[in-house]
Symmetry: C2
Subunit: 377 residues, 2 copies
C-alpha cells in the first residue's frame, strides 16, 4: 500500500522523525471507486478522517460533498471550494451557537438523534433539513460503535415528527453500521429499520426523502472493483426490498474508505529489548505510538500492516509500543506482532493504511513530542 | 477542589469553550507537602504531567528538580530556570541522537532498562550517570502500569554492570509502584528488590548511590499532613529495613501528586438525551471528552469529581460522553455517573482534579475541535 510515489518521496526528502505521507492519486482512485460502486448515492466525505487541505481541495474538485463534525470543519470544507449545499453538519451533538454559526455559513442539513437537538436546530436554523440517526447493533464491524449516536427507530419517528411540527424539513434517516463492516446483512437490517420509519411517517403525511447510509465501507473491497460493485448491488437490493419502487435519495459518508489506504506513516525503531533474559517476546519501541497518531490501536482494535526492509528474514512475535513515558502507550501486546528477528535499532518501518484518523488524533505535545507531521503529495 | 481563586477567575473572565484553570498556590502547597513528607528525598517533578511554563518556573524557584521525557521537555525545564544538574532524562526509550542532544545541554542523569539503551548512552554521553528501572507488579494502584518500562531485578544487575564496564557511572535503581498507589507494602516490595540489586553489585565492587522511587503518591494523602508524614515514615522504614544503615540518596518523581488537584476543567453540557423512551439512563454530552484532554478516562480508569450548580437536587445515573463524532469518545458508561436530574443543556460543570495529564493529551484538532486551553493563575 506504500505507493511508488510515497516511497520516492521518502527516499528523496528523508524527513526526520515520524510522519504521514498521503498519496492523492489513491484518494482520487477511491473516490472514483465509490462513485462506480454506488452510482446513485451522493458521497459526503467524512472530513474528520483527514482534514488536510490538499485532500479537501481534491475531493471538492471531484464533486464530493462533505460530512462535518464542527464549525471548524465546515469552514475547512468551504475554504476547499465546496459550496454550503454540499456540506452537512453531521454531528448529533452540537452547541446551539454552533448550529447558528453553521446556518449563517449557509448550512441547511443537520443530523439529530433526539427531540432536544431538534429544538436547538428549530430555534436557530429555521426551515433547515434534519435527518435522524437510528441506532444499529454494529455487529460484524471491526470497530463497533457504542450506543453514543442515534436512537431506536420508534423514537426516530417521534423526533422527525417533532421536527416537522417545528417547521423544519423532516428530511430522512441516517445510520452507521460500524467501521469496516463486512457483513452485508448489517446494511439490510439497518435499511429495514429506515424503511419502517419512512412508512410510519408517510401514513401521517410526512414524506421523508433521504437515507444517509453513513460510512463503514471496508477499504479492501474498494481495491477490487467487482467486489465494490457487488457491495453496491447488495445495498441497492436492500433498498429495493425495503422501499419498493420509491427508493429515496441516498448519501454515503466514507472517511477511512476514502483516505485510509492512501497514507503511510514512516517511523523509526527506537529500542528493542527484553524484560528478562528468558522472555520469549521482544519489546519493540517505535517513535510513534498511541498519543502520536495511532490512537486507533486502542484495545488493539485496528491492526495496521507494518513493513520493514527485513521482511524476508525470519519473523518472531513482538510487543510493539510507542515512545512516551506512559505505560498505556502500547500498540500491540495481547496479540503480539510478528516482526523480523534481524530488526535493529534505527531501522525505518512503514505503517500502512494510516491515512485516516491519525494526524488529528495526535496529541498536542504529550511528553514534549510534537504532533504527527503530514505530507500530502 | 475548585479553589476560590479558580472560581473567581471563571466568574470574572468567563472563558468561552472548555478550559483548564490551574491554581499555582495549590502547586506550591503540594511541593511543600512533599518536602515535609519526604525531607530526605530530592523532588523531580514529572514535567509530562503538566509542562505549563508558569508551573515549571514556580517549581524551579522552589528548588524542585525535573524528570523529563524528551529533549523538548529538557529545554522547557532549562527555560524555566532549572540548571542541567537538576534535570534527569527519565524516559527509558530514547533515540541516540536525542541522548547526544541532552548531553550537549548538560544532562548527566539518564534512565535505562536494558543493555541496548546503556550502549547508546555510553556512545554519546560518556561518563554519564545511569539508573536502571526495575519492574514492579503495580498491584494496588488505580492506574496500574504495564510491563512497558523496566526489567526484572536480576537483569538490572546485568544492565548496571554493563554500564560500569562502559565507564558510565552505575548510579542507582528506579521503580514506579503505579499511579495513586495506596498500598504501602508495594513500596516495601520494590525497595526490597532495589536493596538486592545494590547488595549484589556491591559484592562486585560496584557501589550504587541512588534509589529513584518514581511517582505514584496518591494526592489525597498530601492534603492530610499527618497521613503524608506517615507515608514518608513508612517509606523511610522500608529503606532502613532493606538498606540497613547505608540508606542511599532518594529521588521522587511526583506528577499527578504535584498538579492534579491544582486544576479544574470548566465544561458545558451540550446535550442531554435518551436513546429510547424507556431508557433508564440519560446520556449527558459535554464539550470536552477523551480527545479533548480527558484521555485518562480510558477504560474508565480515572473517575474525576464533577461539580454542577444543581448538586443539591436529586441525582440519577448518566452515561457521560464527549462532543466528537467518535463512538469511543465516552467517558463513563460501564459505571454510569450520578448527576442531578435537573441538569440542563447549557449548564456549566466543573471537572475537578484535572491539573495533570489533560492539556498535553488533548488532540491537535480531532473533529476540528481546538486543543484544551489552559490558564495558570
Amino acid at each position: 500500500m506504500a505507493t511508488q510515489r510515497i516511497l520516492d518521496f521518502l527516499a528523496t526528502r528523508r524527513p526526520n522523525g515520524p510522519c504521514l505521507v498521503v498519496d492523492l492519486d489513491v484518494v482520487r482512485d477511491n473516490f472514483c471507486a465509490f462513485e462506480k460502486a454506488l452510482p446513485d448515492s451522493r458521497i459526503f466525505y467524512a472530513v474528520k478522517a483527514n482534514p488536510a487541505p490538499e485532500i479537501l481541495r481534491l475531493l471538492a474538485s471531484l464533486g464530493s460533498s462533505f460530512d462535518t463534525a464542527s464549525v471548524a470543519e465546515i469552514e475547512m470544507a468551504l475554504d476547499a471550494g465546496a459550496t454550503a449545499d454540499r456540506i452537512s453538519y453531521g454531528n448529533t451533538i452540537k452547541k446551539e451557537r454552533d448550529i447558528a454559526r453553521a446556518f449563517d455559513l449557509g448550512i441547511r442539513l443537520f443530523a439529530v438523534d433526539c427531540v432536544e437537538e431538534v429544538e436547538k436546530v428549530a430555534r436557530v436554523a429555521p426551515g433547515a433539513r434534519v435527518f435522524c440517526r437510528v441506532l444499529t447493533d454494529g455487529e460484524g464491524a471491526e470497530w463497533p460503535l457504542s450506543r453514543k449516536f442515534g436512537c431506536v427507530p420508534t423514537m426516530a419517528v417521534d423526533v422527525l415528527r417533532h421536527a416537522h411540527g417545528l417547521d423544519l424539513e423532516a428530511y430522512g434517516v441516517s445510520f452507521h453500521v460500524g467501521s469496516q463492516q463486512t457483513d452485508l446483512t448489517a446494511w439490510d437490517r439497518a435499511l429495514a429499520d429506515a424503511g419502517r420509519v419512512f412508512a410510519t411517517l408517510a401514513e401521517e403525511g410526512i414524506v421523508l426523502k433521504m437515507v444517509n447510509m453513513g460510512g463503514g465501507f471496508p477499504t479492501r473491497y474498494l481495491k477490487d472493483v467487482p467486489a465494490a460493485q457487488a457491495y453496491g448491488q447488495a445495498i441497492f437490493g436492500a433498498l429495493r426490498r425495503h422501499f419498493g419502487n420509491r427508493i429515496p435519495e441516498t448519501i454515503v459518508e466514507p472517511g477511512r474508505g476514502m483516505v485510509g489506504n492512501a497514507g503511510v506513516i514512516k517511523s523509526e525503531v527506537v529500542l528493542i529489548s527484553k524484560k528478562a533474559d528468558n522472555d520469549n517476546v521482544r519489546w519493540v519501541y517505535l517513535d510513534i505510538g498511541k498519543f502520536g497518531g495511532l490512537a486507533e490501536t486502542m484495545d488493539e482494535a485496528i491492526r495496521y500492516p507494518i513493513v520493514t526492509g527485513r521482511d524476508h528474514d525470519q519473523m518472531a512475535p513482538c510487543v510493539l509500543a510507542g515512545p512516551t513515558c506512559d505505560s498505556a502507550d502500547v500498540l500491540y501486546e495481547k496479540t503480539p506482532y510478528p516482526l523480523p528477528l534481524t530488526l535493529t535499532i534505527g531501522d525505518e518501518v512503514l505503517i500502512e493504511g494510516t491515512g485516516a484518523y491519525t494526524t488529528t488524533y495526535a496529541s498536542v505535545a504529550f511528553n514534549g513530542f510534537e504532533p504527527l507531521r503530514s505530507y500530502v503529495i
